[in-house]
Each structure stands twice: as C-alpha cells, then as structure tokens.
Subunit: 346 residues, 3 copies
C-alpha cells in the first residue's frame, strides 16, 4: 500500500523532453513530456478509450495523440479531438498529475489533485544552489521501496555492506541520536575531535595535525525521502548545535528520493551535493559514479531481502539501532491507513 | 471465460502431418496429427494415466503412444493398449475433439461433442475457391483474444496505427453503418465516387481518370471471427446493394480467425484473399508478408493494452465508433453466461 | 505440503566447505558451511534482524557474519555479536537445523528439532562401504518432488522413456510384486533363467551360455527416498529369497534422495553403487554420466507433467502397475495431515 496524497519524484529534469517517457508510479502508468514552451506535463499513460499507452503515440505541438485511434489530449488531460466524431463526451479525459519542476526533479502529486500544495514538496534546494555542486543518478530497485528507505536511515550497515568505500566502523559504534519532529525523523551520529577522514581532509583543506568534529545526520521525511548531512569541521568549532554547517565547513548532502513503482519495485533518484572546489568538474563526475557504485551494493541487498521475504513470513528482531526505521514504518503505515479511512468516509 | 460450444481454428492444414503438434486452446492441451490416410486428428495432449503430453510420444500407424508408459490411444481417444496389463479400464481414454478440415484450416469443437454440428463452421470458402488466391499466416498474440477482435472490427485505427501502409483517414471520417443479424454484426464504410487508391487502381485495371466507389465492410461472427470485405468498383456501378461485388470487381477479403490460448494469450490465423491476377504468384507472397507486417503493429498494440489492463481496472469511455465492438462484447459475454447457466442446470 | 519432521538430503558432502552455500528446502532458505574443524553446519539463511541472506556475508572462524549489519551467529544459530550494541536480545537467533553428515550426504531435519533422531536417517551405507563403488550426481527438478518419486518407483516407463539405454520391455511385462512394511513399500520384478544383459554379463563375469536370474527391486521410504536393487546371479542360485545378493553376485543399487525446494521444484541427489571391478575408476565415471543422462530424460518428463497439471485439474486413471505409487502418495498425504493435526493440537 502506498501514501497517495504526496509529492513523488517522477524523473530527472533532463530525462524529459519532446519525446514521451512512460514510467509506472504507485501501480499507475504515467507519461511525461514537455510542451513546446518546455513546460513538463504528466498524464495517465492509458487512453480513456481503449487503454492504449499514450506514450506509444505522438506529440502534436502540446497535444498528445493516442497511437491507436488518434484521440487527442491537451496538457490538462482533456480530450480535444476524436477523429471519428465531433461530439467529445465530458468523460473523455485522462488523469493529469499535478506537476512541479523543482531542484532538477520532476515532482508529481499522485493523490487527490485538490490537495496538491507545492509547499509540501520536500526541500532539495542543494541541487539548485550556486554554492553547491552535485553528481546525480538513477537506479531501478527490485524490492519494496521501504527496504531502501530503511537502508538509507541506517549507518550501521556501512562497514559491512560497503567495507571498501565507507568501511570505517567508527560511526557504527558511535552513539545514535534519534529525534522526532511530527512525522519527520532525524538520526545523528557524531565523531568528536578525531583526525579527519582522508577525503574530508583533502576537500576541506584541513591542515596537517588538525583534529575535526565529524557528523552524519540522516533526515527522513515521509513517505520516502532521506537526506544525509555529512561533513567535518575543526574540533571545537561548535558544529553540533550550529545551523550553518554547510555554509562554513566541508559538507556533503546525500539526497535520496524513492518512488514506489509496484509493491515490489521502485524508482531511485539520488545525488551527492558538495560545497567545495566547485570549479573542478571532475568532483561531480567522480561522486556521481562513486555513489552509484556504492548504491548498486545496496540494490543487491534489498533485492535479496525481498527474495527471502517472498518465501513467507518470518519473525523480525528489532535492535536499538532500528529505532528510527521502526518509527519510519509506523509513520508510513499510519499515513496509508488514514488515507484509506478518509477514502471510505468519502 | 471462453465460449466452449464453438468451432475454433486449431491450425493451418499444412502445419499438421505425421509429426505431433501441441497447441493449447482455451486452457486445454491439444495434440494434432494426421493418420496414415491423411485424416487429421485432435486429442487431449495429456495422458489420462499420469498427465504426460502425448505429443512427446510417437505415432505408431494411427495410434498415439504415450511417451511415459506406452499407453496407446486410437484416433477416437480410446486407450487400446496398456503394456503392463491386459485389462483396459473403460475410463482409460483422452478427450477427442470433433474435427473438420475445411478451407485449409483445421477446425476443433471445444465444447460438448454432441453439439458439434459442422454446419456451424464459419464460412471461409475464399481460401478454397479457384476464383480466389490468398496469402495466409499465423501470429501468437500476447493479449486477451477479444482485444484483437475489437481491433479487427475497427477501421478507425488504420490511419494512426498503420500510417505508412493503410494510412488514409478518409475511411475513419466516413459514416459508419452498423447492422446486426442475430449474433452477427456488420460494420460498413463507403467512399463514393473518388479516385481509386493506387493499389486498387493497379490491381483492378481501372482506366486513368475513372472514379470508383470503395468499400470496407467488416463481418463479425461469434465467438471471434472477423472477415473484412474491401474493394473498388466504377462509381455508379451500384455496388452498395449488390451481392456479387467479388465476382465482378476488384475485391479482397481479409479473413481472421482468433482462438484463445489462455485468458491472456491467443492464436491468430489470418489470410488475405483476392480475386485479381491469379496467375501472378508474387501477389500471394506479397500479401502474406505485407499483412503479417501490418498485423505485427497490432500485436504490439494489444500487448500494450493488456499490460495497462494488468495494472488494475480503469474506466473506459465508449464512442459512437465503438458501437460494433460494444455489441460484440455483449454477444460474447452473453454466450459465455448462457453456457455457464446450462452447465449449472445440467 | 511437505512432511517436515523428516531427514532430507541438503547436499553432497563435497559441495560444502569454507564458503557458504544457499539452498532453499521446503520453502525455507538454508545456508550450509563447514566450521574450521570441518564440521558441517546448516542455519536459516535469513538474518533474524532484517532478513538478509547470511550466505552473502562472511565466515569469521566458526561464526557467520551477516552481510548487512554485521550481526554474528554461532553454529547453534545464536547471535553472539551485535556491532551497534552490547545487549543481545534472547530472540536474536536464526534457526539451526539438526544436521548429520553420513554416507557422503549432508542430512537436515526440517521439523521440530526435539524429534530429530539420527537413527531415523534412511540407510544409504553403500556410499560409504569399501565393498562398493559409486558414481553420484545432482539435478535440479522443475516439478513437484512426488512426480519424481513416482517416476523412480516405476519400471514400466523404462522401455518408453529410455528406449536407447534401459529399453528392454521384459521387465515391464514381468509380474509386479508389491509388498508393504508399515510406511515402506517394496516393488519387485524378476526375470528368471534368461541369458544375462550384456552389461551384467561383462561386469558379473558370467561365462558364455550361462543363464541368470535377474532382479529389479525398488524400495520406497517416506517421505521421498527410492533405492533400486538391480542385479543378476546364476539361474537357480536361489537369489529370490536370499538376503546377501550384493555380497555374492553382480549387483547395483541406484540410490535416490529427493528434497522439495518449493511446491513446484526439487533437489535431486542420486548415485549408482556397484560391487564389481572396484579397482577400475572408469566404471564410476561412466555410471555417474550415464545415469545423469538417463535422468535428464526423466527431468524433461516430470517438467512436462507439471506444465499439464498447471493448466488445471484433470481426472487420472490408476492402473494395476500404479499400486505402489498410489500407496506412496497415500502415505505421504497421511504423514502431512498427521503433522498438521499435531501442529493444530499443540
């Protein structure tokens, strides 16, 4: 079950142009394209007449023409032409998804359009901020989307699943600080007064011998967003309570948006944003590739979990480290149930 | 659900010989072969003993020997030998399907054999008439069989799905005449007093400057036969009410028999019959290939429709042009329900 | 449904080492490995924390470390380390399967560990007896495991499914002697006072012109073991009532252990044991290959049966030759039902 009254990422902005892209989201077929003015549009990819995928048809200006019988739909989903007759029945329309293009992502509201408030779109301003660079990518997930949200809220798996790249287990042993703000969860780990990690030292230009305070803070927002704030600052610089870490010291944000495709598959949009050496393009390329390679290990894991789960139910033991994920699942479950109750009441 | 008390095409005659062909029809496994005298036989392809496919066994004269334990069945489905014992229980038999070889097709009755009347076989005499040539073919359909019946009853999709080959939209805009005779449906479109289509002009030897009346008339017969009568005659020749169009002027019949395999797959047998230049064999070869290539576009479409339908139910808008298909679905639904009620009563 | 309170073969002994082998048995994921002392261990291949397959992790001495969060389990399945916390909850454990390594096979008890009595392990001593050689192998079965048990209890299929290799139909026509001892079934066929089969003559060193008594005796033990005793002795040597056929004359035991993987797949472990020319290694190699090739024909058959069964239920006729298989299915069905009733009562 999915939370439908929510904004989800449908695509990277550069994926959408004057061709039509089909993408299944929350078990619904969606077609994405740009108008002649470059405005992005998302319609149901299933003609109201005989369920043909509009994405197999063609764009005539801003009009989508069905590949099968030539019905034409405008960007609002309204049928504006039926070749075989003059009368257009008022029911002749396909769903048009409220859409916002923001921070290089195409955002779709998958539920009741009347509730689609752009202010509810999760903040990913780093992707659009001149003080930040980023490397971004996409992966298809062969598992339930919440397995990946769990994975991202979890720093304890890093030394085990990613020993070559993120292999230090210092974070795994450090104390976990979980805080909750409504349906938002924050999971923080700090390593205080230690010598900096080699990459942090190099990118932050910390002088030899200087100790740093290093942080890793995961922010969850429902239904399936996880932002990881990682960085280092000179020991004693007071970063633990600061609100401006990224504006002053070496900082990266690992930004993750997961969109359910079906109950057992998902779309994964992610980027690594950074605030250093913005003039050096190789950093963006390196981060894009590096993060993708690490996340491919996670893809293997969540797929293997899904396979074990498909064999049948088995008991699960929750640990102290799971506090955030357990809360995350409770939040998503509650939101789904609330929507179902509202749907029944209506 | 399928109409079982009906004749369906199982194969082209040339597909069946002294080898055994397995073909699933209406969710039942069938094995087809010819006796030593060339008579075609269809038995259940599932031994009554341990469900082995007889088609993996061998033909001994007119006898089918099971590949597993050597039980032998005669063309009536009766077990005539059990290697391990002398007594043959009366229940030892496999279903034998009433079969008629007619018009180059092998026809099977899939329901109660007592009701199998060869007079009920749909007329496809064009395939066996010296005044006609034809090019025929077979395709496997990855969609419910009725999606393809809809497709064939529908001329309005031609300019959109087949723009390079059948691309004129004049027919799509012309008036639709739907007539009903019991469970048979006829859908006619006429283009009166126009210059002939290039292929029609060439094959009909119409002189330069002569206008023609052109017709396209689809005939549906349940459960899943569609015959398209297309042709041209000199304008004013009175073809609209004539019964002998094919004997006098340029005429083609596109002949289609669709047999459900499962709920989501089907067998598609089709041919293009023509009444011109019968001494020129290249026309038959060209039509066989040309029609196959066009129908491959339809295969892509019905498969895409099926994929969208598999994502879940969605509302459907019927248009004026759909009158014939809506009637077709009502007829097939009614026939299925009638059979189920008869089965319950019995 | 499966009999769970039973010993099943999980692997050949040489398959298991200091790597970890995942194998699904009775719908449960199992990981197999050896301790540093070479002792074989079988644990649930699904971490109790987040269902990750332990087989993707690593062995640290005798400890299995989960690939995801590094939880460590000892060979008893008990969690002995959680990297992120000191306290180990008593529920933190994975199932450990009672395991016995015997006769070159790894035996697992899939049900209630309290009932796991090694004396219940089926006797396959031929694989471990200096008076016998053997050639063994493994095949994956794409069918319900009982279809293969039926196949092995059945000599009547040999001349039909294996005409080139086991093609004489003399056995198929000889009288069947079925005897029952509790839940064990014995199916015997004898050919008395005939010239020996070429392979029997060669391997048994029977002189020219000597006639032999030849036997084929299948022994079934639940849930899914079949042992075939085949051999020849000089006619009149009284083998029919002897208990020491294998110690005196040319004898082979075809040994079969079938383990359900899912309802529609299985693991098949088999060997051909022989008591002649033990110093000639080529015999072992030849039998391993020869038996595998014959059994591949059986794999094709049981898969085809499964495909026909998947199309829907169809009536089945039992013959006199099926007496043993029918009894076998009744025994297995009864054992499954008894377990389910005990589970309900408890």
């Amino acid at each position: 079950m999915f939370v439908r009254n929510a904004w989800y990422v449908a695509a990277w902005d550069h994926e959408i142009g004057r061709n039509m892209l089909r993408r299944i989201m929350l078990d619904e077929p969606v077609v994405l394209f740009r108008t002649v003015d470059g405005k992005c549009v998302a319609l149901e990819d299933r003609c109201c007449h005989r369920q043909a995928p509009l994405s197999m048809g063609k764009l005539v200006g801003n009009i989508v023409q069905c590949p099968y019988h030539g019905l034409q739909f405008d960007p609002s989903g309204k049928c504006v032409k039926i070749p075989s007759q003059d009368r257009i029945p008022p029911t002749a329309k396909v769903k048009a998804y409220p859409l916002v293009e923001r921070n290089h992502w195409i955002w779709l509201w998958m539920g009741d359009p009347a509730k689609a408030d752009p202010d509810l779109i999760e903040d990913f301003h780093w992707l659009d901020d001149p003080k930040w660079g980023f490397g971004g990518n996409y992966l298809h997930v062969e598992a339930n989307y919440l397995l990946l949200v769990e994975n991202l809220l979890d720093t304890t798996h890093l030394p085990f699943l990613h020993p070559e790249s993120l292999g230090t287990d210092a974070f795994a042993r450090s104390e976990l600080e979980v805080t909750r703000d409504g349906d938002r969860i924050q999971v923080a780990r700090w390593l205080m007064d230690k010598s900096p990690a080699p990459f942090h030292k190099q990118m932050g230009d910390f002088p030899d011998g200087m100790n740093v305070d290093r942080w890793q803070i995961a922010h969850f927002a429902p239904p399936s967003f996880v932002k990881l704030d990682v960085g280092s600052a000179p020991a004693g610089a007071g970063m633990r309570t600061a609100n401006d870490r990224g504006s002053r010291w070496m900082n990266m944000w690992n930004l993750n948006a997961i969109t359910p495709e079906t109950e057992k598959t998902a779309h994964y949009f992610f980027a690594q944003a950074y605030n250093f050496k913005l003039d050096q393009k190789w950093i963006s390329d390196m981060l894009r590739t590096q993060i993708r390679d690490i996340f491919l290990q996670d893809m293997t894991m969540v797929k293997a979990q899904q396979e074990n789960m498909d064999l049948g139910p088995s008991p699960v033991v929750n640990l102290a480290q799971d506090k955030a994920w357990v809360a995350m699942r409770q939040i998503v479950d509650r939101l789904v149930k609330e929507e179902q109750q509202q749907a029944k009441a209506a």
